[in-house]
């Protein structure tokens, strides 16, 4: 039993990271219907920025704050400059633009920082908290705590501020949002800025567990896709719940399903994506998919 709980706890730790990147995907999708394939790469780039700031001698948390601010501005800028021109274009065009962004950001990071792996500092202390035979690493606790704080802040933003109300209005009905005087274009840019910020958090959280290289987020992105699909691509709450479920499912499958082991774990998110798309395409928390005729 303790062994099982141990796996669940570790799964939650991994799941919180998937949840944060999934949240970034959802933040953009719910406003624009755009699936941002470059989300993971943007997070990777932000993580390099954080690394650069710490390497320059800044204390970790200060480096993080600067990184988040720069990521926010960068996200908004990308929307204004790259996405805006293809707003309203056919879906395929937009997909290709975000895939192009993926390739560009990846190459840019390699060009600036080289493809050699770098050690990323772990902000959390070593060691673990043990209770009832289950030991929870401070690192896992820290990750859960940080993601929890991010969720809390987003909740406050969306539910208790005027800007957040405006953002929800745009997500629900952009036409009527314009008619009440909301600047829809800026709201979309704000969504991209927020997404880049939340993505940066996921990059900074995962980097100490892996190594920092330009392909840092490739694997995480697949799990984030599974999380967002499971939770519903237009539901922030769904992204979080989906992320946690995917993390736990992955860990349990790796531990208990004989033939999967650690090598085949990557199959878990793919299976989840497939099953959800077949059984419940809108995900656990998504709004009904309305087909336009």
């Amino acid at each position: 039993m303790a062994g099982f709980l141990q796996q669940v706890v570790e799964g939650l730790g991994a799941g919180a990271i998937y949840a944060s990147l999934a949240l970034a995907l959802v933040l953009i999708y719910q406003f624009t219907g755009i699936v941002n394939f470059a989300q993971g790469e943007l997070a990777m780039f932000s993580t390099y920025l954080a690394w650069q700031f710490t390497a320059a001698g800044l204390p970790f948390w200060l480096a993080l704050v600067i990184t988040l601010v720069v990521s926010f501005a960068g996200g908004m800028l990308i929307e204004r400059v790259i996405i805006r021109p293809v707003e309203g274009a056919p879906e395929l065009t937009v997909v290709i633009v975000t895939v192009g962004l993926f390739i560009f950001v990846n190459a840019a990071a390699g060009w600036i920082w080289s493809f050699l792996i770098k050690d990323f500092p772990n902000p959390f202390p070593e060691g673990a908290l043990t209770a009832g035979g289950v030991s929870v690493g401070y690192s896992t606790l820290g990750i859960l705590g940080v993601v929890g704080v991010v969720m809390g802040l987003l909740y406050l933003l969306f539910q208790h501020t005027k800007i957040g109300l405006g953002m929800r209005a745009v997500a629900s009905n952009p036409g009527s949002a314009r008619l009440v005087g909301i600047r829809v274009g800026w709201t979309l840019a704000l969504g991209w800025g927020l997404a880049a910020t939340v993505g940066a958090v996921s990059g900074v959280l995962v980097a100490p567990l892996l190594f920092l290289d330009p392909n840092l987020m490739g694997g995480v992105l697949i799990y984030a896709f599974a999380a967002a699909t499971l939770g519903g691509f237009d539901s922030p709450v769904g992204a979080v719940v989906g992320g946690l479920i995917v993390g736990v499912a992955e860990t349990l499958a790796g531990a208990y399903v004989g033939f999967i082991g650690s090598d085949l774990k990557i199959g878990v998110p793919l299976v989840i994506i497939l099953v959800v798309l077949l059984l419940r395409p809108r995900g656990l928390f998504g709004r009904a998919v309305v087909e336009r005729v």
Binding site: L165, G166, A169, S172, R178, V180, G181, R183, V184
Partner: protein, 238 residues
Amino acid sequence: MSELVVTDLVAGYGDARVLHGLSFIVAPGEICAILGPNGAGKTTLLRALSGMVRGRGSVRLGGTELTGRSPDAIARRGVAHVPEGRGTFMPLTVEENLRLGAYVRRRRTGVDADLDRIYTYFPALKSRLRQTAGSLSGGEQRMLAIGRALMLRPRLLLLDEPSLGLAPLITRELFRIVRAINEQERTTVVVVEQNAHLALGIAQQAHVLETGRIVLSGTAEQIRADEQVAQSYLGYRV
């Protein structure tokens, strides 16, 4: 002095021109009815006034040129458009919908008082504040859409087919309220309506639109009295 001055307004969708040069004026505090058959361009006219479709020509509100401005900029100048259909924010609560109506108002003072005023016009909304807009009936949604428009404290209110899909009793009540709003708040109103009888009942001026042109203008009485118009354009017998 005219509140709304529309001159040679041309508008359409892509290459398809729908409005072929409309000109009319609306005096301050007046209700102006736009009548005409399906596809005449009534909805397109309101969209051009609120910036939802681009128009050429001139639309001036209280002396300020509106053509070429974005819908949100036009809303900030006091134009509230209640679009055809529901036009509410379905997943949001009734109260959130109403507060969104006041989004562009700089100061928060008066917003709560205005909410109360809206509940006196539409008591049905008051008991449903925490419900999502999507769970309201069709009639309640129309009331919500109009209530939300009023939260802007508009100087110009654009109503597109407020009666569509509503029971006759509710429709009459709705028009009575529009009249009351117009009288109490001195809001200028442009109302598009299939039910010519009702619209002419509250309007001072009316214009009949056909295939993107104004084919007849006059006071509500004149239009109502014109039997031939009644039959050919308005579809009812006097």
